[in-house]
Symmetry: C2
Subunit: 358 residues, 2 copies
């Protein structure tokens, strides 16, 4: 934070925004993404613009992309230590460091975006997230949702659990652990190498996001089978703020930051829907041979069982994890019972042309 | 250092508050709803609180509920004339006055909430809405979404189109016109009389909203069959602002109003999901005999055909209507193709307990 202090007399003689311009507070934000990364980078830019606008210029958010700070997966530490005031990233990137952070992005077989936002804002989500982040001198806030992520691109059709055995797939994190239970060999590669690795068959499959970001990565030209999602039903990004920095701000600027984060997060969710719809149409136009598939009942059953086993282990090892998992499961059951008779019944009943489709 | 700075800011704020006290701008808002109406009334209260907070008290939104202005369905005129600066209502209430307003709440067989927000904010929705409202000296903005509305409460099961013939049902507006094509007699009654009318069998069926608001109306005690929705897949409320009043505000207050409307609208959408989930669980607990039904394929087919016929008529009668309908249909096809392979595939694949459900 840099602030130029003027004398009391000068400041108070001039009541207008001009005076306060001298009191600009700069907050440095480290984002996990590269410069001008689509959608995710729009969220930070929108946030910064809102913060500046709503504060009449008193808040200046300086965004450093990964090419500047060089630590895309180190944002947690950069903000915790105070090297940066804020971060924009995803909570499940910190799983190895603080296991309980993984529950605040998205969970396999978990809530869809509308359910998860309800859990965050109208149930226990925010309070539980704060329990996890407070000991690390951090506040965490929802930072924008990608919507449903796809199950990934596969070079060959996957019909039975046996087809997964030995498959080399880029699928990191908890979803990778689950897939490993079914014999998949999870591989991690820098994002810039994924396309070529799939072309060269160094890997047999990969998941990235969905049409909104997969199109620009070229994946429709590298594999034919596009599987529907199960492992990231509503990936929420994250704003991080150093707790001391936030607590040291005037109350009105704290509120402005919260409004700017909340609104730019919602907007990213809607933007993701738009970009997914637009890019999915483009993909089908450019690659009419894309084959959309769902995993078979047997594969889904085994994935669900592996998910349950792994979650039960996590709950057993840590009482806070147990509380978070229980809260999410209870909320999901209630929320999905509603989705089942509303949007699921409605979208299952007809396609966009109004034809009965099942 | 921080304390000295805080003192400086506080002194300045104190002085500026005193000076600016005379500069508070009060905007009178007429809402269609009664005082403390759940969810809808929360949206206006949240909006007013945000506007006050973000403007440092320079904006004061004075909310008059229907008990004060006595014109729940006259909000359009109250704001157009300048008797009120703002309104909170629903765009399809003005269909009789300005037919093209009906396209900005929700359409039978139309977009779900995430699709419709994408259309508003990332496609042509806002521009088309402005074309409709500008000639009436009004700006219109999204004002909060109820989520999917249910098809209604029925005293008897509806199996075939014949079961609808002669049925007396409270279902106003465009959906009522469609139902009438299938032989239903649409009835309108004041909301306070609906429960008793259904108990006494003066009507055979009614639609209201969904669990979020149906529970308090007592409908689960008045009828047994609860039909899933088709006619209001994503009802969006509306903020109205008198154009001259808005254009006369300083730019920063205009922006603050837009942010406060946009955020309180999104929040109402999420709140609606939460209240629906919560109340649906309560309904099932209190009335375990509720029977959820979907209309048969044959009924849905006839409803869709009637919908298409009526929309084609509207498009033929009015070039602007034709453009709005075409824009919505084109966007829906693209957006639903994405929903089909994402949230529809995912929620259709399993229930909340992770069991394969179809």
């Amino acid at each position: 934070m840099i602030m130029k202090r003027m004398t009391l007399i000068l400041s108070c003689l001039l009541i207008s925004r001009l005076t306060l311009a001298a009191d600009v507070i700069t907050l440095k934000l480290a984002e996990t993404w590269g410069p001008d990364y689509p959608i995710f980078g729009d969220a930070t830019k929108n946030f910064a613009a809102l913060a500046a606008e709503l504060s009449g210029g008193r808040l200046n958010i300086q965004i450093d992309s990964a090419d500047v700070h060089q630590q895309p997966l180190g944002v947690f530490d950069l903000v915790k230590s105070g090297d940066y005031d804020m971060g924009h990233s995803a909570s499940y990137y910190w799983t190895d460091k603080v296991p309980n952070t993984q529950y605040f992005s998205t969970m396999p077989f978990g809530m869809i975006a509308s359910e998860q936002y309800s859990w965050f804002y109208f149930d226990d989500g925010m309070a539980l997230m704060d329990e996890v982040y407070a000991p690390h001198n951090l506040y965490s806030f929802p930072g924008g949702n990608t919507g449903q992520q796809m199950g990934g691109w596969f070079k060959q059709e996957i019909r039975t659990p046996d087809d997964l055995d030995g498959l080399r797939m880029r699928i990191p994190g908890f979803a990778g652990e689950i897939m490993a239970e079914l014999g998949v060999q999870p591989v991690n590669l820098p994002s810039g190498e994924l396309y070529q690795a799939l072309i060269n068959r160094e890997i047999d499959a990969l998941e990235w996001v969905g049409p909104s970001l997969d199109l620009a990565m070229g994946f429709p030209n590298a594999a034919e089978y596009y599987y529907t999602g199960w492992h990231e039903p509503a990936t929420e990004l994250q704003f991080l703020i150093n707790r001391e920095v936030f607590n040291g701000l005037p109350t009105d600027l704290q509120e402005i930051l919260k409004v700017a984060m909340r609104l730019s997060a919602y907007d990213m969710w809607v933007q993701s829907q738009h970009e997914s719809a637009k890019n999915w149409a483009t993909m089908l136009e450019q690659n009419p041979n894309i084959k959309v598939r769902q995993f078979s009942d047997e594969i889904m059953k085994q994935l669900r069982e592996a998910n349950r086993r792994l979650l039960a282990q996590k709950a057993e090892q840590d009482p806070l994890a147990a509380r978070i998992i229980a809260s999410q499961q209870a909320y999901l059951e209630k929320a999905r019972a509603w989705i089942d008779i509303s949007e699921r019944a409605y979208t299952g009943n007809m396609d966009a042309r109004g034809n009965r489709s099942q």
